[in-house]
């Protein structure tokens, strides 16, 4: 049985990905609102050395005057005026020191004059150093330690990642990127309380909309009251920040209002959040669309926003285009290497699309990151068993620790034991497992899960060719009819299409005298 969708409680917890991507997303701009670019004279209240260098370069162009002008242009933020000097360094002064030419080439690239860079200086594939090698030369680099922690987390060394993150927190206890990354790591380690303490205890949080947004979202995850919800709403109401700087704060406050049933207020904050959203805020908007209705996000935003993959995945999922979701999830995983969610969402969607190879691959990759995830173990058991890889499926189910697993996942695991038993030919045992799971869901009032379990039971019965598979499918259909918005409806249709094909084959066999059973029409059309 495919585990239940987990995105019904999406919260705007901070994303953790590479520093370069985070910077590109605009999350790490100045903490204070600003409206104007500072003039160089404000910084350097004395006549500019740059102008003197420009004059010297104009009077006597040479390697030295060119190199000095380029450096001065970089420091004083006047790179545009140093483009000619940079051109000389890359094209004429081939005897210039390599870093001088490289620096000039990069300036030309930044100024949109990349075509002037000779081929020997074009930026080719650069060998990226490992995070540990990178910081070896400067152990005082907090963001370098965060990068190391990220690399460690991605390869599953979470304890080492915590140690690296502790160093980063000591070096920069109030830096936004350090705090948000640390909070995300602690959340990944199932310690939301520590994540809240880390963000809430920073002196920067009361004045930083990104940190306030994180604290509000983490409090939602932990089921606690946020210390910064009121202040966050006040900051939003006061205005003054660039829309990108408050997109996540508006999304977090909007989520809180939505959860509390204040749809009107929620829509107001989400509308503010969607003015210039980050990828995560966009995904939150897409998530909220299910409750607030269409119109929050424009199609242009969905397609053009930076890091839009998660939102796209949600959007495609919502429109039951499960086959396309896996592509979005693959991209999402590339951009969000720490998060296990692209793999969870990918395996779930691929399972609904009957693409069990993809579902299995997503589950395996997710488990490399979070080996004890009951959701992923269930997804792996389901997809592996569906492909007949029973040993792997059995092993996955056996790894689910009932003591630390929530009840819905435990019940899914029982259903998956039923699936494995069916594939092993133990129909009697299989039925017992399914009955236990269905009964458990029913007693919990999880009727959508009851209906889903029935679909998978019917599927297995059909594949096993049991006498009652049509009855079971009809029963599943009737149960599912109450949940027209459930993504499992699409899967039911797939099963029913399969059933129709089987019915046709059996009909043809019967007409040719091969069979005697009376086949009824599959009921899937009634739901279409």
């Amino acid at each position: 049985m495919n585990p239940a969708e987990r995105e019904s409680k999406r919260r705007l917890v901070p994303r953790w990905r590479s520093l370069a991507t985070t910077i590109k997303s605009g999350e790490l701009a100045s903490p204070m609102p600003r409206t104007e670019v500072r003039a160089p004279d404000e910084i350097l209240p004395r006549p500019s050395d740059f102008l003197h260098r420009l004059e010297r370069w104009n009077l006597s162009p040479s390697l030295v005057t060119a190199a000095e002008l380029v450096e001065s242009g970089i420091v004083e933020g006047r790179e545009k005026d140093a483009v000619d000097a940079a051109r000389r360094l890359v094209s004429i002064d081939k005897n210039a020191a390599p870093l001088i030419r490289e620096q000039a080439a990069k300036l030309l690239e930044r100024m949109g004059s990349g075509r002037d860079i000779p081929s020997d200086l074009k930026t080719g594939p650069v060998a990226i150093k490992g995070a540990r090698d990178f910081i070896r030369v400067n152990l005082r680099d907090p963001l370098g330690w965060v990068e190391l922690a990220l690399a460690q987390t991605v390869r599953g060394a979470s304890a080492a990642a915590e140690r690296s993150m502790s160093v980063a927190l000591k070096l920069a206890p109030d830096n936004r990127h350090v705090l948000r990354s640390a909070a995300r790591l602690f959340l990944h380690r199932d310690d939301p309380e520590r994540a809240i303490r880390t963000i809430g205890g920073s002196a920067a949080t009361p004045t930083d909309p990104w940190l306030m947004a994180s604290e509000i979202a983490l409090a939602q995850v932990a089921g606690k009251s946020s210390r910064f919800l009121k202040r966050g709403a006040a900051v939003l109401a006061a205005g003054g920040y660039h829309p990108r700087q408050i997109t996540e704060l508006a999304g977090a406050v909007g989520t809180e209002e939505l959860v509390n049933g204040n749809r009107r207020k929620s829509r107001r904050w989400f509308t503010q959040s969607m003015v210039d959203p980050t990828g995560s805020a966009l995904a939150q908007g897409e998530w909220a669309t299910a409750s607030l209705g269409d119109g929050l996000i424009s199609e242009d935003q969905l397609l053009a926003a930076f890091e839009n993959e998660e939102a796209l995945a949600f959007h495609l999922f919502r429109h039951r285009r499960f086959g396309a979701v896996k592509h979005a999830c693959s991209q999402w995983a590339l951009n969000d290497p720490f998060s296990v969610r692209p793999f969870e969402f990918g395996t779930l969607s691929a399972g609904y699309a009957n693409d069990f190879e993809a579902a299995l691959a997503f589950a395996r990759r997710g488990l490399e990151m979070k080996p004890d995830s009951a959701f992923l173990l269930n997804a792996l058991a389901f997809s592996a068993a569906s492909l007949g890889i029973l040993a792997e499926a059995t092993e996955a189910v056996s790894k689910i620790n009932p003591a630390s697993t929530d009840r819905p996942q435990r019940l899914v695991a029982i259903a998956n034991q039923g699936l494995i038993a069916f594939r092993q030919g133990n129909e009697g045992v299989a039925r017992l497992f399914y009955a236990e799971a269905i009964d458990g869901f029913r007693r919990d009032g999880a009727f959508e899960s009851v209906a889903r379990a029935k679909i998978y039971l019917a599927r297995e019965a059909m594949l096993a060719g049991t006498a009652d598979w049509r009855t079971l499918l009809k029963d599943a259909h009737l149960s599912m009819a109450k949940f027209k918005d459930s993504p499992a409806i699409s899967y039911l249709m797939l099963v029913e299409e399969d059933a129709a094909k089987r019915a046709a084959i059996e009909d043809s066999k019967r007409l040719n005298g091969g069979g005697s059973s009376k086949i009824g029409s599959p009921p899937f059309l009634a739901l279409r």
């Binding site: 450096e71 030369v137 907090p142 070096l171 920067a204």
Partner: protein, 350 residues
Amino acid sequence: MSAAARLYGLTLANGWTVTRHIEKSPNGTGGTFSESYEVQNGGRKGFLKAFDFSEAFGVGADTVYELQKLLDSYDHERDILDICSINKLSKVVVAVDHGSAQVPNMGTMEGRVYYLVFELADGDVRVQMDINKKFEVLLSVKAIRDVSLGLHQVHKQMIAHQDTKPSNVLTYSDDSFKIADFGRSSRRDRSARHDNFVVAGDPTYAPPELIYGFTHPEFIPRRMGCDLYMLGNLSGFLFTGVNMTASLLAKLDPQHHPRNWAGGYQDVLPYLQNAFTAVLNDVSPLIDLVVRDDMIKLIGELCNPDISFRGHSKGIGTPSQYSLQRYVSYLDVVAKRLAVRLRADGRKAA
């Protein structure tokens, strides 16, 4: 043309004949300039720095105020050089003469030029920008050693140089190096007009905290910390031809550049630290393997963007954090060890 720009061909009172006009340079006080010349006195050659006072006579200028400002600048540099001279600071380019000259056909006030004469050097270390002219690794290490000694000597007089850039590190024929140009220096307990500027020296080579407008309230961390950074910056330059400040700022995303950053220096420091790591990783492979670890450690300590981490690792947090004493001894050892090794390698090759 200002009086200071018209000295070519003149013979000055102390017997110096002005033989070549070199260039116009910005001076320490901001808004003032000086003209550079080669001069000769018998068989002796020198470098003359003439202070350009023309601005004081510009239209609308408060001439008395401007003249006072310019004279203060001249006096400040001359006084500092006197201290260096009296204390026989061996790695500092001291003035061999000073005085004033009257340019013919100009008014008494307008045509008066104040000057300083220095011993003439062979050149400066900017040759390191050219791979065909740059000098050997041993000479680079000697340059760092000599400059650190020169700065240590002036620091002991409670003077901070604040403008230790490649053009101010002069080379001599005996393979020695000296530090020149005290026009932007500061003395503890004695103020100079440029003390009020956030960046006293050339901003292209200045430490990042000053470019972001952060000034430590105390003289030693602010001004001697600046010298430490510039020494580290020079060390990087001697091996790569580029300066650390420009390399550092080039690594930043534009939103963290001083022009765009609206937060405090502490807020931007983590980004600078990360950019600094990247710069050190770029610089490292360009340093000869024989001294790479020594030099990367030195640059890493001296150029750290966080002023509280700047200085020798053994001195961080102590009263001697900004002292160059440890580096002077250390660089002496590095230079000697390198010389021995190179000699041994030469013998082996032979």
